[in-house]
């Protein structure tokens, strides 16, 4: 018995590996369990190999599965594709298609099952039936989840599917093998959402009424969901001809008062560099939701990486203030999105959210009650005598009028301009306006000190990381701190303006510092150096390419190596 299990299903297109994972995840969410579900695909557009991994736990979890306790393999050649990415537990139980012999060097408890013979059209559900009793997964919940998933199928198909599930249970009962089983107490059902879904909900919650976007993996779900929901909520969603037009339309909509957003991934964000500068200079709120994938260039569209950081921080010629936020997990994708709107609107500035494929596309359980967040509004100008659109103010924010407002008309532009918005090439105006625009960053920094801190005070090692890496780091802390080590972590959720004072205090409090990131060129580390004092002598960096998600073990090893305690036994759960 264990408080958690992880299972993985590997197959080809049509095998329904991913659907099976969804069903398990939803069933467990219904029991109030904590779940994190991830998927992976081969290069084939469809019909290629896919794998789906579900980690289920009675206690809160923050990272995708580490070692797999139970594995279903429909074809070994498909498994081979993912072998690198799937860590198998010592005593893993493997249910494989009887007709396909396992490779000779395959370790684990190997159990052949005639999936194809018994349920040629519902192999995946049959497999769930086998897994459920062995792992102690909720049988009724799984039946419900199957019905929910196939709600649109005919009664006959549904009946056949449920029968396959029961056949699986029957098979399991005859098996002699012992798998890791789950022990838990049933709780309030949880939502099961992906980061993209949470972000779309966050946008709607924040009052977004305009979305424009261009499809791109792994962000398209936001386009799909907002195309479905905005028209219901009195808003508009537009698929544009390209990303330049998408951000352009967002700026146009926002100019007339709408809360507006676009969503994209690296290549699209690159194309938005010029428009970003316009939003910043004309001081028109805009939210740019960017889901990072493997780069550079077209890179690896389906995998996660943290390498759009520098582009997000610095793209666009000239001195262009912008805000950069980064969610830590699925639920946080909701909060950060609302914050993005709040900051964009309150400070009339472009806000880039840097999510990543791992957060965006993994499904995670969250408490429905957690999805609340204060919503802020724009500082509007209404019929001000002698209205000056860019009037200088202590925090740099000038009241903004919107078309339709009489007596507060203005003509704006991306040229340097004076308080009225008149183009000016004068140095004095330029310096004053640069100062005004950048002053907003100070104001935001003062108000939005968004970060998370985990672990004990005065740590031996203080980890600094961001975005999806924080999940694995948080779990690594739990493991590492079980002995006498004192490891802590600081995770900024706002990257620009960076909460530099808080971060510096953290760094100063640490004996050693470890920066962790999924960027080959160490973008985060370089950025931190530019913003705070990070003494070389006490700083280590664990940076590598994305394309494989950060594991808890990887982090634990890095910390131990740093402290020279490699020899220590593993204390993994």
């Amino acid at each position: 018995m264990s408080q958690e299990v992880s299972l993985s299903i590997v197959g080809s297109g049509g095998d329904g590996a991913v659907a099976a994972g969804d069903i398990v995840a939803m069933a467990c969410a219904g029991e109030g369990l904590h779940v994190i579900k991830t998927e992976a695909y081969g290069p084939q557009i469809r019909g290629g190999e896919s794998s789906c991994t579900v980690r289920i736990s009675a206690e809160p979890i923050f990272a995708q599965a580490g070692a797999i306790d139970a594995l279903v393999v429909f074809t070994w050649s498909d498994y081979a594709r993912f072998a690198d990415e799937l860590a198998l537990a010592e005593n893993v139980v493997i249910f494989y298609e009887e007709a396909d012999a396992p490779p000779p060097d395959m370790r684990g408890i190997l159990v052949p099952v005639p999936f194809k013979k018994i349920a040629p059209h519902a192999k995946n559900i049959l497999a769930l039936g086998v897994l459920a009793p062995l792992l102690h997964l909720p049988l009724e919940g799984m039946r419900s989840a199957v019905k929910q998933r196939f709600a649109k199928k005919t009664a006959t198909v549904m009946a056949g599917t449920l029968a396959a599930f029961d056949r699986g249970i029957g098979i399991a009962e005859q098996l002699q093998c012992v798998a890791q089983t789950l022990a838990y107490a049933r709780g309030t059902p949880r939502l099961l959402m992906s980061g993209n879904e949470a972000a779309a909900f966050g946008a709607l919650h924040a009052g977004c009424t305009f979305f424009a976007g261009y499809p791109i993996t792994p962000s398209s779900e936001i386009l799909h969901l907002l195309s479905e929901w905005l028209p219901k909520m009195g808003g508009t969603s537009l698929q544009t001809e390209d990303e330049l037009a998408a951000l352009g339309a967002v700026i146009g909509a926002s100019f007339t008062g709408a809360k507006a957003m676009t969503a994209t991934s690296g290549p699209g964000l690159s194309l938005m560099a010029e428009m970003l500068g316009l939003s910043s200079t004309a001081e028109i709120p805009a939210v740019i939701f960017n889901v990072q994938r493997g780069g550079p260039s077209t890179g690896i569209p389906t995998k996660s990486e943290q390498s759009d950081l520098m582009h997000a921080l610095y793209a666009s010629h000239g001195d262009t203030p912008r805000v950069v936020l980064a969610p830590c997990d699925v639920e946080d994708a909701f909060h950060i999105t609302v914050d993005a709107f709040n900051i964009a609107e309150e400070y009339q500035i472009p806000v880039i959210v840097l999510s990543d494929q791992l957060i965006a596309q993994r499904r995670e359980t969250i408490e429905a009650g957690a999805l609340v967040h204060d919503v802020k509004r724009r500082r509007l100008a209404t019929s001000i005598p002698d209205y000056k659109r860019y009037a200088d103010t202590p925090d740099g924010v000038s009241p903004m009028s919107i078309p339709g407002t009489a007596d507060a008309m203005y003509q704006t532009n991306g040229l340097e301009h004076d308080e009225s918005g008149r183009p000016s090439a004068m140095f004095s105006v330029h310096e004053r306006m640069n100062a005004k625009r950048h002053r907003k960053m100070e104001a935001i920094g003062g108000k939005y000190r968004l970060f998370r801190r985990f672990g004990p005070e005065r740590p031996d090692v203080g980890i600094i990381c961001w975005g999806s890496s924080s999940g694995a780091v948080r779990e690594a802390l739990d493991i590492l701190n079980q002995g006498d080590l004192r490891i802590a972590a600081f995770v900024p959720r706002i990257l620009a303006p960076l909460p530099a004072a808080d971060l510096q205090a953290f760094v100063d409090s640490c004996s050693e510092v470890l920066v962790i990131e999924l960027s080959y060129s160490r973008q985060f580390h370089r950025y931190l150096r530019s913003q705070i004092d990070l003494p070389r002598a006490k700083t280590d960096v664990m940076a590598r390419s994305g394309g494989k998600s950060l594991s808890v073990t990887e982090i634990a090893c890095a910390v131990r190596k740093m402290l020279g305690v490699e020899a220590l036994e593993e204390v993994m759960a």
Binding site: A27, A29, K147, K232, M233, G248, G404, M409, Q411, N413
Partner: protein, 292 residues
Amino acid sequence: MTCDATFTAQDFKTDLKPVWCPGCGDFAVLNSVYRALAELGCKPHETVIVSGIGCSSRLPGNVETYGFNSLHGRALPIATGAKLASPELNVIAVGGDGDGLAIGGNHFMHTARRNVDIAYIMMDNEIYGLTKGQAGPTTPSGDKTKSTLYGNPDPVVDPCALALSFGASWVGRAFSGDVKGSTELMKKAISHHGFAFLNILSPCVTWRGEDQHKELRAKMRPVPAGHDLTNREAALRFTDEADDALTVGVLYDVDRPTLVDQMAAISQRALGPKGQPPLSQFLNAFAPQHIQ
């Protein structure tokens, strides 16, 4: 578009001095804009003029409405966003030939295709004015310019022909020197339900020479009586005229659903008979359901 208040052409002037060269055709375009807005009775604060970058794109700064001199080539996406988010506004896009046909050509195509309900006024001087005289898509083939010292290698395009192929529902051509004619055409373009494209030939005295004015005026002739405004093939013929002819007037005018109409219809379909759902309904798809 609300058009009931009374503002004079004078009311539409800002006190910013235009930056154009003495003799530039754009002054006349600006005058026509003032007059058209006044004569249509447009309310300044419910009007938005969006432009790109170029000499011509400086125009919004001189018009007392909401104005936005944006980025080179990007007026139309911004105008689209403005119109879709606030359909009650009168949205006008203006810009140069380089702005709209070179760097901005793709947005021209898609904005016309979608029939976004805006008027798009292209101030066409057959050259890149602001950057000091390089060839653009409307520069005659063979012409020597700063960037084509040995003659422009590219064939010239007719902006109205493109607008027609892109699916614009209203297409007109004007000559800026003819302020009265331009004003009337602008009024029609602004009043049109859908995407209205008005190409205004507007001489650049600095880079196309002082004669462009005279030449254009000499070529100008009205759309012949009997031209069927709903016939695209017929309209296209005016875009492939002899060198000595420039037909001005409305070339094409049809009514079809605009993007605003389409979005309204989509909203209707999305809402269904039950009307606006509570936002919490969004979460249903992500909640485990107990199904017997």
